[in-house]
Amino acid sequence: MSWLETVPTVQYADPWAAPFGDRFAALTRRGRRIAYFYEVADSTTFRYRAYNPCQVLNAHSADVSASYFFLLDFENFDRIAAAADVLILCRVRYSSRINALVTRFRTQRKPVIYDIDDLVYDINYAHLLIESVGADANTEPDLNFWYAYIGRVNAALRLCEGAIATNAFLAAKLEAFLGKRVKVMPNFLNAEQLRISNWIYEAKALSRLRDDDRIYLGYFSGSSTHQRDFSIVEKAIEAAMRSDERVCLRVVGFIDVGQFPSQLRHRVQHLPFMDFVNLQRIIGSVHLNLVPLQNNVFTNCKSELKYFESAIVGTPSIASPTFGFERCIVDGENGYLAKAHEWDHAIPRALDDIRKHEPIAVACRDHAELHYGPEHRLAEVLAAVDW
């Protein structure tokens, strides 16, 4: 029996789905109250920048409580503004309702802070952003969407008196742009991820990954904007598959793998986008997680979440040496770093280590547990909301 079968699929429901009354009650539980605001809940930015910090504060802080609110809570903006001490706008776009909410807080001299995880506030970078995400800067719809998006993020950001960024690279850029104080709050795991990851890791440890002879490379894409990133490794994956017939590719999400030669396609498994809890099972089922990124000003602003989501289930990553990955991966110890021209060399090297049962899987797991578990991030979350 494969170890994967010992960790059954979880019946998933969004853990943040709760009526306003419950969320408001969570906000008012303690003396100091932090209100996070996001337009509409999703499992990407909202989860990492609003849901997770609320979970940490509510679980581990003695005197701070927090909750998250959405545009749909419009009719309760007055109650939120009256009850909360700080408002944190998470990557929201400007609208009259956002302005109204901010105005309520400012009228009461309560701080309003902007939280952002991407370089999406400066229209000088719009063209570069459009091309980086694979959109078309020659078409009106793409231009209109992105310039409007960035312009509205910028307008909302300008309403705030400070900001929180995912890493120091983005924080420095933002501080120079905004002329206001910017703090750093890194991304980290939440309790749901940690729970299933512990289960997966234990199951893997028992089976020692000997469920079959195959060796799986994994690529996990949470959005449709990573085709150009994936193209960095396509040829290297192909070469690894050609040189060892046990090597297979497991891909999740919005990636076109149609370019693979037909004789290799039966070794490529493409799974649809899935919820973040069950995704951990699939990440745990591969031997190596591939995280190629075009190394540019945008990707240096991004967090290292693809590293720690994988490390926590004992799957080492090979990642591009962007700002975030360079700071969490020690090449050859808890993962691997590969520049854009080094993947052909990096994949076989990592596969060799895996065949020799090098302790790299244990090292990355230990590192992720120590640095990215929710309880270890309380101090940083508290510092980020202290204005």
């Binding site: 800067a137 193209s231 052909d344």
Partner: protein, 377 residues
Amino acid sequence: MRSLTSARFAASSPLPTYSVPDSDANRLTLVADSTRATLDGSFDIALILCAALCQATRRRLRIVTRAEAADSARIHRLLDGHAVELFFDPQFLHLPESGSRVGMNVLDGELFVASCWRAVASLIGTVPDESILYLLQQDERLRYARGDEYLRCAAVMARPGIRQVVSTQLLYDHLAQAGLAHIIDRGTWFEPAFPEAVFHPRERPGKMRLLFCAQADNPTDLLYLGLELIERALEQRTIDPAMWELLLLGEGMPDVDFGDIGCVHLGNLPDQQYGELLGTVDVGIYLSASPHPGYPMLALAASGAVVVTNERDEHHGLRHYCENIIAAPADLPSLAAALIEAVALAARKTLRSKNHQAAAIPRTWNSSLARVLASVV
């Protein structure tokens, strides 16, 4: 009308560019047709020059290719083989000559290296002239009959505001005397390096090896003169099939039959095999109508072979590179005599080895590119 000329000269049409305010690192962009291995090694040398410039100026390297997407694995092998490192993660951009929906973003202060006149032409007007370094590895005018291409190529080569980096002093001197006097003010030159780790003699048992290198689509490679020379050498028994084997290297080599000797057609070899092959060659033949000595000739000499080649101009010999290089006028009787001399020298292992060790072919890029780096940085 405009679409007609755009289609005809697509590779030299202005690149679609756009500006971005700044980035996390300064950058150097190499614009090339492709990253493929060719006998003339033009991309390889351009890559190494750019990597060295990036190291010296702490820049990120970006490689923009027109004909096809870059082969990143080959780039890794090349840099590794030549012991050149990239400090920053490189970027790759494939900009097809037509139909690309992406553009090339440009940073303030970015440096551009163009590896051929078409690449220079594609940059003119889209980036400042003073930001362009034109890497000349050939008098590119020699590729063309006197027509449209020739005129366009000559105009680009004569453009005064662009800096030139010329491979070999031989080519530099030729260009300075061949209508490009501005190169004396704006240009500099380097002698290419052939690292010992790749280019060194390799012992092998069996017959002596004669290698002829030429690329059919390179109009300055004297392919047919070389084939005639081999035929003559076999007729005259300069090359004895009982003692020699014949190898033909280069894409597009005609399927010729030299009778008893039997010859092996190698086409273009992958990088690793190229170095290994050259190290086993006893006599190499490389003939060219270019003033540039030619990378195959230098690589053969650096690998320990005796090389027969043609003299390039009346002012310069080639023995200053290595005494194992025997140059003769580009006619059959003279080259046949040179080949007799080469065969004799190849058999004198001690003298051949002494000549090889005394060769003045640079072995490290650091020393080879010092002058260029000093003038560019």
